[in-house]
């Protein structure tokens, strides 16, 4: 590539903008808090002790590096490109969410905060937050939509076992966006002692940046591992996108590698045309919600629409601002997968590889199933298997018409 081209990895700018997206759209009460957070993060970034503690916990607590696994049986079945799975579902707590939570709780500790709050959709981020709060001995409140509590009972119980208080959010659509509203309401009320661990690469600056940085451990490992396995960079990266933290974590270290095709997969629910989906790039417009400007599902009057996906973790009407920007400049290609396609992918990974994936990466796999057979056998795809499916067996059983007792 042209070495003089500006790097795509240098964002955001000083005010937290990625092109026309990002920024700091918060109530004045919160402004001093996010400015403090930015200051603390800048100091941590240049503190070798912070990085050393993060790395230590990644290795010994999370279990990193996660394997880069050549899915030979899946590759044979699809009959095209070689498919590698970045096994972030093997992390402690079963998903990529823990990477970010470790980073943020170390920041909280650094800032002298004594109380942790978080929002959660599928419950993976809630579990990861409850986990690090337990590990560091801080009280923790998790906001979770009442509807998500119904469909993610095992994770609710996990959070409680870990000592977190789970508060059911009954407002709005009773899902992830409403949980985020209530977490912001908590934060604006408890400004002195509370650290808000946002679970995805969204929200007011500096959250999209710092979440991306903590999750980039995925992409940095993947770069080394695939070069060790194949002697070269992959031809394609694929990851599922709700807010987009696992995807940006994998993608970011490769953004300047023009030879690497990068594909993000949104959840199209019952289909984009049905209106019941969570694909904010394919079906949304630019707007402001939850502290950032990004692509949002909304009506013509700027009211936020309810998202739909079989996967609670993708059931959000927005997307991280860096993805909105990468979409606008065309560096990353965004596709979508329906509930039905994700279920087929879920079943395929169970039967070919003996791996039960979460419904979120099952969307990424649905795209891989479409693309891999069209590529030559010497092509290499790396897909982020960002979560395991234990939490989803009830949802899947329901979708397949199986009654569990």
């Amino acid at each position: 590539m042209n070495v003089h081209a500006p790097s795509l990895r240098s964002g955001p700018d000083a005010d937290g903008h990625f092109g026309a997206f990002g920024g700091r759209y918060v109530a004045e009460t919160l402004m001093p808090l996010i400015l403090d957070l930015e200051k603390a993060y800048r100091a941590a970034q240049v503190d070798p002790a912070f990085k050393a503690e993060f790395d230590y916990l990644m290795t010994h607590y999370v279990g990193r590096p996660s394997p880069m696994y050549f899915a030979e049986s899946l590759t044979d079945h699809l009959g095209g490109a070689k498919i590698y799975l970045k096994r972030d579902e093997l992390n402690h707590t079963g998903a990529h969410k823990i990477n970010n939570c470790i980073g943020q709780i170390l920041l909280a500790k650094r800032m002298g905060k004594t109380r942790i709050i978080a929002e959660t959709g599928a419950g993976q981020h809630g579990v990861a937050t409850a986990t690090v709060a337990a590990r560091f001995g801080l009280p923790c409140v998790i906001y979770m939509g009442a509807r998500d509590i119904e469909r993610q009972a095992p994770n609710v119980f996990r959070m409680k076992l870990l000592g977190a208080e789970v508060r059911a959010v009954e407002s709005g659509s009773r899902t992830l966006k409403d949980a985020m509203n209530d977490a912001l309401r908590d934060w604006v009320t408890n400004v002195d002692d509370t650290f808000y661990i946002i679970g995805t690469a969204a929200g007011p600056h500096p959250y999209p940046e710092l979440v991306r940085d903590f999750q980039s451990v995925i992409g940095h490992e993947a770069r080394e591992q695939i070069q060790a396995a194949e002697g070269r960079l992959p031809d394609m990266l694929v990851a599922a996108i709700g807010g987009g933290s696992n995807a940006i974590g994998l993608f970011h270290p490769f953004l300047d590698d023009a030879s690497v095709r990068i594909i993000g997969v949104e959840a199209s629910g019952h289909g984009i045309d049905s209106g019941a989906h969570a694909a904010s790039l394919a079906g949304g417009r630019a707007g402001v919600l939850h502290g950032n400007k990004t692509m949002l599902l909304q009506d013509e009057d700027g009211q936020i629409a309810e998202a739909h996906s079989i996967s609670a973790g993708l059931d959000y009407p927005g997307i991280g601002p860096e993805h909105a920007w990468l979409h606008s400049i065309g560096r990353v290609e965004y596709q979508s997968a329906t509930d039905a396609e994700a279920l087929e992918a879920f079943k395929l990974l169970c039967s070919t590889e003996g791996i039960i994936p979460a419904l979120e990466p099952a969307h990424a796999l649905a795209a891989v199933m479409r693309i891999a057979p069209t590529l030559a056998k010497d092509q290499v795809i790396v897909m982020n298997l960002c979560g395991r499916g234990d939490k989803d067996i009830f949802t899947v059983a329901d979708a397949l018409g199986v009654t569990l007792k």
Binding site: R24, Y25, V26, A27, E28, M31, P32, V288, I304
Partner: protein
């Protein structure tokens, strides 16, 4: 045309009292009733009206105003209906300042330039955009300024002395002091804390200081009116609308009027009591 806000603040100051600012969500519980409520507010003694633009995700609002937003959106309220209601109100009242309060996304969807043109034409005086801090305000301010509309700035208990100049830079109309860190209608600040904050802000600005968040009763309003230039009451009024709407009552404007009359009397008497004592 003279500025309705400065004229109204001057008139209240001449009477030796604070202004009463009342908040309701436009279209709560429906547009027809809301228009009647708007007239009831001013008839009962509200000096300035803050009109909430309903939004699906009112992140800085407590339960009362969240429910007001849901009732309004449920009855089909759009931003253009809210502007039309203001225009209709202006036919009979060209003096009471009306400030639109809400979140940025509905304005962005409407278009900032188009919003400024239509808001001015409807007879609005300014807007408070909760999630548009000074750092992002450049997106809206030029359009508002071009049409003589105020973007009301907010100061809060977390606004440090170092940050205050940023908040005041470009502020106009009045300064809204959010008395407690929290959502609307929840906790209340102590009168001493409010008096200290108002005194601190007055050292940095000549703008009138309006104080809101957590002010629900005539007693609380009077305590704040003793020192601030204006006191804002919202959730208590929205609660009256909510419970009356739940009963399907047909006298919602009258009930609102009764509550506001009590608040207005308290605000008007606040400094007399001081003088008597």
């Amino acid at each position: 045309m003279s500025d309705r806000l400065s004229a109204r603040f001057a008139a209240c100051a001449a009477e030796g009292r604070a202004a009463l600012v009342t908040f309701v969500t436009a279209g709560d519980p429906d547009m027809t009733t809301s228009a009647e409520i708007l007239r009831a507010l001013t008839a009962a003694g509200a000096d300035i009206v803050e009109l909430g633009m309903p939004f699906t995700d009112p992140m800085a609002d407590g339960a009362s105003i969240q429910l007001g937003n849901i009732r309004s959106l449920g009855s089909g309220t759009k931003l253009r209906h809210v502007l039309a209601m203001v225009a209709e109100f202006r036919k009979t009242d060209d003096a009471t300042p009306i400030i639109l309060m809400g979140y940025f996304n509905p304005i962005l969807a409407y278009g900032c330039a188009r919003f400024a043109v239509d808001a001015k034409a409807a007879g609005l005086d300014g807007t408070i955009v909760v999630d548009l801090p000074p750092e992002e305000a450049a997106e809206l301010v030029p359009d508002l300024t071009a049409h003589g509309l105020h973007l009301i700035r907010l100061a809060t208990p977390t606004t440090s002395a170092a940050r205050l100049p940023r908040v005041l830079d470009g502020a106009s109309g009045f300064l809204y002091y959010v008395a407690v860190a929290g959502v609307t209608g929840a906790n209340a600040a102590t009168p001493t804390d409010v008096a200290d904050a108002v005194a601190r802000l007055k050292r940095s600005t000549d703008l009138p200081i309006a104080v809101g968040f957590g002010v629900r009763t005539p007693e609380q309003a009077a305590a704040i009116a003793a020192t601030a230039d204006a006191v804002v009451v919202g959730s208590a009024i929205v609660d009256v609308i909510g419970s009356a709407a739940a009963e399907r009552a047909n006298d919602i404007p009258a009930r609102v009027g009764t509550l506001v009359a009590g608040l207005a009397a308290a605000v008007r008497g606040a400094r007399q009591k001081d003088k008597a004592a």
